[in-house]
């Protein structure tokens, strides 16, 4: 194997390159990225970067050591197809990159509100998105966030601290119901009102009002909320349309085994675009978690190069965090619909706490903590051992 092409130049793509060199691949590496920017860290885009407390330089993922990786970067160009049974990547401009193997790390993109949008309506996924939104979050601006998921909640939190008037609109009766369940979703949802943002549940976006620029949002319950800025935070979808016809199995992402192997030999998928089998849940999950994008590539690279790879046991436990209104929310494991919640320490009604998710056999399968990082870390490891 002489030439490996990584499609995607964000965290999972960079982690792939670092793993290739760490696992002694000495051949050529090409990285294709659709954004102009070198790899940068996305989590701060809704938090510190949006708040203006860290710079673009601060969120860069590459450092001086990465020069030694010897990578050929092709930035500002999306891949348009995977050809010749995975042995060629065709770019937007029609050029072909012949390769011996491909690692797909194309990530996901923000789901858009269907139809045209007036000015002042944003989604947040990329640095360019964050630059545009940041310039509009001025003190006194009226912000309406559509969707009280993690991204929406973080933007609301950052905007409230910047002095914006914030309304958050959630179609479900409780925010974060799918990842956290109704009980704990409600606990997290209460953070909005406690910090001066208004949460409206059980109603959705009916219409964006405004000629050239948004002036209000009309809700499905008939109310109208005045708005200078709107953020649509209704989830993400994997960037896999370009793989149609490649022979890969596409089903909410690229289907892979535990190591990231697809149905085509020497084509692997990692990070947000991969719908991978997970030992932890004994099923397939597509994870949009930063930690997964950081850690999954080393296993995929080992599978590709035929190397041994062993990660710490707790890396198999899905993990994400969210920073909202000065609180650190952390979750590890996986919540299924039949889980019950048991508060282990602290008090969800008054502040910091740690809660376990128990499955039908009352085994802990997930852990949620707000501002309890230390016992959370211990539980994350216990979850790995209990498997």
């Amino acid at each position: 194997m002489e030439h490996i092409t990584v499609v995607g130049a964000s965290l999972a793509g960079l982690a792939t390159v670092r793993a290739l060199r760490a696992q002694e691949f000495e051949g050529r590496i090409t990285v294709i990225g659709d954004e102009q920017h070198e790899p940068y860290d996305r989590p701060p885009l809704s938090k510190e970067y949006l708040a203006g407390t860290v710079s673009e330089e601060d969120i860069g993922l590459t450092d001086s050591d990465d020069v030694e990786l010897g990578v050929e970067w092709v930035l500002g160009q999306a891949a348009s197809s995977l050809d010749n049974a995975g042995k060629a990547v065709v770019l937007e401009d029609g050029s072909r990159v012949g390769t011996d193997a491909v690692v797909l790390a194309t990530g996901a993109r923000a789901r858009q509100f269907p139809g045209g949008c007036p000015q002042g309506v944003h989604t947040l996924r990329t640095l360019d998105d964050a630059r545009a939104l940041r310039s509009e979050l001025v003190p006194g601006a009226r912000l309406v966030v559509i969707g009280a998921g993690f991204i929406g909640a973080e933007i609301a939190s950052t905007a409230a601290a910047l002095g914006c008037e914030v309304d958050v609109v959630e179609a479900a009766d409780v925010p974060l119901q799918r990842p956290l369940g109704a009980e704990m979703g409600a606990v997290c949802g209460r953070l909005h009102a406690r910090n001066g943002a208004r949460l409206h549940v059980g109603t959705g976006l009916a219409e964006l009002v405004g000629e050239t620029r948004v002036t209000a949002v009309r809700l499905t319950d008939g109310r109208e909320l005045p708005a200078d800025v709107v953020v649509v935070g209704i989830g993400a979808q994997p960037n896999t349309e370009w793989l149609a016809g490649s022979g890969l199995e596409i089903d909410d992402g690229v289907r892979t085994d535990e190591q990231g192997r697809t149905t085509i030999p020497e084509v692997l998928a990692v990070g947000d675009c991969a719908h991978s089998y997970r030992d932890y849940t004994a099923g397939w999950l597509r994870l949009e978690h930063w930690t997964n994008a950081l850690q999954q590539p080393a296993a995929a690279v080992a599978a590709l190069l035929g190397r041994e790879h062993s990660a710490p046991a707790h890396h198999s436990v899905p993990y994400f965090w969210s920073d909202q209104y000065g609180h650190k929310i952390q979750f590890a494991g996986h919540r299924s619909a039949d889980c019950t919640v048991q508060v282990e320490e602290g008090d969800p009604d008054s502040g910091d706490f740690l809660a376990l998710y128990l499955d039908a056999e009352e085994r802990p399968v997930g852990v949620l903590a707000i501002d309890r990082a230390r016992p959370f870390g211990q539980w994350r490891r216990k979850l790995a051992k209990s498997r």
Binding site: D41, P43, P44, E48, L61, T291, K328, R374, G377, R381
Partner: protein, 126 residues
């Protein structure tokens, strides 16, 4: 264990951490110096480093001890307690290390002072 305070004296700031008996092996504690400092007991050896992760805002004293390294509780950056160096991503920058001493069963941290010119750190004195 939590009666830390500062001694102003010549040279580095000296911070009383507490009784050695209050920090058994495997445990850590955060004390306030000029910045917050995390103190760890690794099998009887004491180490002190800056408490705030060099990657993003997180308290390393809440982290997971693995040998002579601590893993940040938020984003899993690992730091060598002896050198302050990160072992890999996501941290790129080291954290400062601080000398620790024990006198009469009490733990003291000697905070590394920074010599600054015009706000920029030009030299660090351990």
């Amino acid at each position: 264990m939590h009666y830390s305070f500062l001694y102003e004296q010549q040279g580095p700031l000296m911070i009383l951490v507490g009784e050695l008996a209050g920090l058994p092996p495997g445990e850590s504690v955060r004390v306030q110096g000029e910045v917050a400092i995390a103190v760890f007991n690794v099998d009887g050896e004491l180490y002190a480093i800056d408490d705030t992760c060099s990657h993003q805002d997180a308290s390393l004293s809440d982290g997971w001890l693995e040998g002579c390294a601590v893993e940040c509780p938020l984003h899993a950056a690992c730091f060598d307690l002896r050198t302050g160096q990160p072992s890999g991503p996501p941290a790129k920058k080291p954290v400062r290390t601080h000398a620790v001493s024990i006198e009469d069963g009490l733990i003291y941290v000697h905070e590394s002072t920074r010599v600054t010119v015009g706000g920029a750190v030009v030299e660090e004195v351990g």
